[in-house]
Symmetry: C2
Subunit: 293 residues, 2 copies
């Protein structure tokens, strides 16, 4: 899979690329079938919705679940990002977001890179968000919404919202969202929402302002969100636990294209539980960085 000049131009202009049905139903099913058992676990890496037992987000499944470990090394996902950055990438964050039928709550308008910069001391925006649909996505089950072109603003002001949902988020204020939407075309394209079958993939810029509504429909909208960071751009601080912001900066080595359907061996370092070190955090920048400075 090689991106076309049109795609490269579109990514630069809009801040995202949509690949409907990139993975087959059969491939997606392997992943989706593994979710209930992961969500049932009572572990720190499962964050549940406010006032509900439904999982909002699961972290780091690629370290303890074979199907997701294979997805984390899938060439159809990794190679376009390597191509866009012109550099190897490592896995900065790996989430399976629930947005479950009837229970899935909103994600307020936010950028991801702001958090990575402020909390993780990631030097630049050279990290890519990847969303892979494990369920069909339609207008009723709380799809992702983007403000096209909003990534061009770089990191914008944000407020730490600790109360709206169960997961704290640096949220862009309403006035700025209004301005960005207006500039992107207002009611004519100022908000877009890529929708399509399970197996679809979105690549989106780490500064693209995005949100999603609640899911009142009877249909789950489980998605995998991965953040692939250019290796040279690795984080400089471990202020957040390792299951949220990963500390292994080794380049991803891809498996063959059929890896979701065949049992290629994968390493599962957290198969028997998270190590205590994964919860250890520090407000100080990494030693080697301090020494190099």
């Amino acid at each position: 899979m090689k991106l076309t000049p049109q795609q490269l131009e579109q990514f630069d202009r809009e801040g995202y690329l949509f690949f409907p049905g990139l993975f087959t139903r059969e491939e997606t099913k392997v992943l989706n079938d593994a979710v209930p058992e992961l969500y049932a676990r009572r572990e720190a890496y499962n964050v549940r919705e406010k006032g509900s037992d439904a999982v909002r987000t699961n972290f780091a499944a690629h370290l303890y679940s074979e199907p997701f470990a294979r997805l984390a090394r899938h060439p159809r996902m990794v190679q376009p990002v390597v191509e866009l950055f012109g550099e190897d990438v490592y896995m900065h964050q790996f989430k399976i977001n629930g947005k479950m039928a009837f229970e899935g709550d909103v994600w307020q308008w936010h950028q991801d890179y702001g958090t990575w910069l402020n909390d993780d001391m990631m030097p630049t925006e050279r990290a890519m968000n990847v969303a892979i649909f494990l369920d069909d996505v339609n207008e009723f089950n709380g799809p992702l919404m983007f403000i096209p072109g909003s990534h061009k603003r770089g990191v914008v002001d944000a407020k730490h919202d600790l109360s709206t949902t169960s997961y704290p988020l640096w949220v862009v204020n309403n006035e700025l969202v209004s301005k960005l939407v207006e500039r992107a075309g207002g009611k004519e394209g100022g908000i877009v929402s890529p929708q399509g079958p399970a197996g679809s993939m979105i690549l989106f810029h780490s500064c693209l302002v995005h949100a999603s509504s609640s899911n009142l429909s009877p249909w789950n909208r489980v998605s995998v969100y991965l953040s692939l960071c250019a290796v040279s751009n690795h984080i400089r601080r471990h202020k957040r636990p390792e299951y949220i912001a990963h500390r292994d900066f080794a380049p991803i080595a891809c498996l063959p294209d059929d890896c979701l359907l065949k049992d290629y061996p994968v390493d599962l370092p957290w198969k028997n539980g998270m190590p205590a070190s994964a919860l250890a955090t520090s407000p100080e920048p990494l030693d080697q960085i301090k020494e190099a400075a």
Copy 2:
């Protein structure tokens, strides 16, 4: 405006009829311009969103606001309902729902007639919901969602939800919603969401199961929701305050078709405030009904 046989058949089958752009931009503007002043009032008839100052729903504006008093007598709205019922109608409920930009919260899946039956002792389903868009409605500003054909089930079991939002609602359980959506076509039409410009109107059956999502967009979605009840079907109990469930069962006398643009005189009984009697309630059925029984 006369309904066609196709429209009558569609209403019977689907439980709703959509009239995009029935009122002009000019007519809608007259109404929308009157909303901020009404919403600013600190009165019992303004219910605000949970944890926010944004108005979720305003009651009974037709009793104290000239533009809305005229809308309540508009032939384009009233006559199709009279035609469907074959009988004069009175105003049972009159709401201006906010669903304000960024602030508008969900309305859970519910039917309206269940409440009217249980609280107000309305004898039959011969009351019609009318929604009139005061803002453009799109997939991003929390549009109404219907389950087509769900009205055929009559009144279904519901649970009184006092906690999800600021307004208590008799809510249909998730399992039944799933079944109704599946029966209506699942992902192929099991949920529908009429969207269109300000001035559009929807008529929908009082047993049609409906909901709406939160509004994360920068666009208000203010709508007028009226409930027109066949005069012979008037409520038999005043368990709810008069500003919520009206007690004047006189047939609506329509104004001319241009009434939103010309200053026809209208009666505004609550112009100088709500009378104390409007807050008086009783769990007993109306005396005259008891005598007649």
